[in-house]
């Protein structure tokens, strides 16, 4: 049933795109600005939604993290994400850490269902890729390791 629901929502997406309407369903067309919740603040800052509120990035890179991040990538991410900018099932990873906040990346990895429901940037990606990113049961700590590996991919030392 859930699978059918996902499929139907994608059909609606496709139909919406075909009609030239890019507004995803379930999104209010006008957003009330009267009171802003912490969630709204996170969204406004481009940090996405999830448990990750702020991330400290260090230099040089933590090589232990990079190593762990790579093995998680190999097992759980490489099927859909290339390390170039080429999009396959999901977007290529090259340059991602330059364009997205680290909080956004970690929330996208660890809180994907909510991100696809509420984060406008995540929703744009779904319209592009048409495959919902699976929840790969990556812990916050593992996501931090993956982020470190992504920074290395982007040429950071």
């Amino acid at each position: 049933m859930k699978k059918i629901a996902i499929f139907l929502s994608l059909v609606i997406f496709l139909a919406a795109c075909g009609g030239g309407q890019m507004t995803p369903p379930n999104q209010p067309t006008t957003i009330k600005k009267t009171s802003s919740s912490p969630e709204d603040d996170m969204l406004a800052q481009g940090k996405g939604i999830g448990e990750v509120k702020s991330v400290e990035l260090g230099t040089p890179l933590d090589q232990a993290r990079v190593g762990r991040g790579k093995s998680i990538y190999d097992m759980k991410c490489s099927a859909c994400h290339k390390l170039t900018a080429e999009r396959v099932v999901g977007p290529g990873w090259l340059g991602l850490t330059k364009t997205r906040k680290p909080e956004w990346i970690m929330n996208m990895i660890t809180n994907v269902e909510v991100m696809l429901e509420k984060d406008p940037e995540a929703q744009k990606l779904l319209e592009l890729c048409l495959t919902r990113m699976p929840n790969q049961n990556v812990s916050i700590g593992d996501a931090r390791d993956v982020l470190e590996f992504m920074r290395q991919v982007d040429g950071e030392k």
């Binding site: 699978k3 059918i4 499929f7 759980k76 099927a79 396959v88 699976p134 929840n135 049961n137 990556v138």
Partner: protein, 659 residues
Amino acid sequence: MKQWLIGSLIFVAILAFAINGCKPQNMATAVTGDAASKVYVAPGKYDEFYNFVSGGFSGQMAVYGLPSGRLLKVLPVFSVNPESGYGYSEESKPMLNTSHGFVPWDDLHHPELSQTNGEVDGRWIFGNANNTPRIARLDLKSFKTAEIIEIPNSSGNHSSPFITENTEYVIAGTRFSYPMDNKESNPDVSIDTYKDNFRGTVSFVGVEKETGHMDIAFQILLPGVNFDLSHSGKGPSSGWFFFSCYNTEQAYTLLEVNASQKDKDFIMAVNWKKAEEYVKQGKGKKQKVRYAVNRFDEHTHTATSTIKEEVLVLDPKELADMVYFIPCPKSPHGCDVDPTGQYIIGSGKLAATIPVFSFAKLQTAIQAKDFDGDFDGIPVVKYESALYGEVKKPGLGPLHTEFDGKGNAYTSFFVSSEIVKWNIEKLEVLDRVPTYYSIGHLCVPGGDSQKPFGKYVIAYNKITKDRYLPTGPELTQSAQLYDITGDKMQLLLDFPTIGEPHYAQACPADLIAKNSLKIFKIEENTHPRAAKGEGQAKVERNGNDVHVYMTSIRSHFAPDNIEGVKLGDNVYFHVTNLEQDWDVPHGFAVKGANNAELLIMPGETQTLKWTPDRVGVFPFYCTDFCSALHQEMQGYLRVSPAGSKVELKYSMGKTEKPE
């Protein structure tokens, strides 16, 4: 000859009653107004109970939600299941191995939930195979069959797999006695030597506390009769097990008449604590047998089958104070112990009374040697000495009794098609309701434990004439749900079942749901041919065997183009599902497969063996609708003639033109 005739007449009379008696007078009044609201579970809401129902001749077990009666899952146990590849995949084939080789079918009669301190604990459920005697243990975290043990020296493993209060043992009693010797059993003898050569056994299968691993602790060698059902003692009767026996006539032909000659057969009482003492003292005799122990490993996702060759046998003719018979009218079926452990209820299939035995009186009688002779060397306790009392005229053909924990018993009556509620202490009938139609077993959630959750009684019916839309000569069998919270039982619902709903167990959903596994962690996958990540996807040739280490994720396989397979090769697709998300299995099917498909759970590896029978290009695809691009989840495998020069190669995402 005269006996024969009388027997036949009784049988015909009962049959006539069954045909006329089973149909209720007034169906319109069977259900009252608020029944529907009591079973309605709104979309998005959960049922309150899990109901595990045997699939009988389907060899499977089904899981229903109560009170809605919605089918949640069919669990493959003793039968191959093309839906998931159980019994077809290389990893699961060993589960169905026996001393007779691969046996892909059986007849599952009784599910039994594990218990701790006499209460249902929600860890495992056991099931018996009647045909090729086996006991299975299913893990209620993964809802998978985790282990199957074959029972040697047994034929028709019917009084099984009932358990002791802390799941120390599951037991297995043979339905058919047969000749057995010390040379892997079953010698070639004339059938009319039944009395001299045929023997029965009951087996106590030890269950390891943490892992649940089963092995036969000991068997008890018994006279040649038929063993039917059984239940563990509890509370004051802890350490004892009770079995119903019929055919004490020791007939071996036309049993429908010849096994109904005597007025009474037996309830057999086994003091298993005493048996344990004899085992410790080395009093058992080792016997040469062959039986399989099959275990599924949750981390390698692979089953292994081991053949064992010895079993320990105790002989009550030589070892006193271990086994007693209690006379019981008349071809007893059910053998049920009430939640207090004081009363043992026998149910004679052909009786018009329910005898209730007192465990305390039985002990006094044994101490006083208040015996009525012996049967084949085993003491027979006097009927009156063990009897607490009889429920008079409760109905016709009592089969099986369960309990609500408030002093009441619920007995099913096959011949008169009804459930009768009666008070155990007072031996008084309190209420009766018709069933539609011939009821076998019944179930109260936790109803054979020390702590029943007595909210419902569920009837499991064999014949459903006119209850459902016709489907040719064969109609579905069914279960019926009755509310037992008031003084009067109230029919709420009937729902169709798979196979034969022979017996069932039920328990509150929260005992199980909270522990339910959502995925297999891919980090913990130790399958020797797992591809943990697309980087590990590859194809290897080893002589005529081609091993494909394949991964699946929404919405593609890797590799998805394979060439260089040749006629005469065996192709092994080892498919690892890389998903780590709940409820996202992927399927794998390939054209012309002679066995089945695979259904691979998140984080799992499963293997399909495929032997191409012709040259060509063969598509494979995912059978489980997994995403919007599920239809695109496919690939091609090219098969070239034997001896062809085509190189083995594989790829995914490569689209160059050939050189």
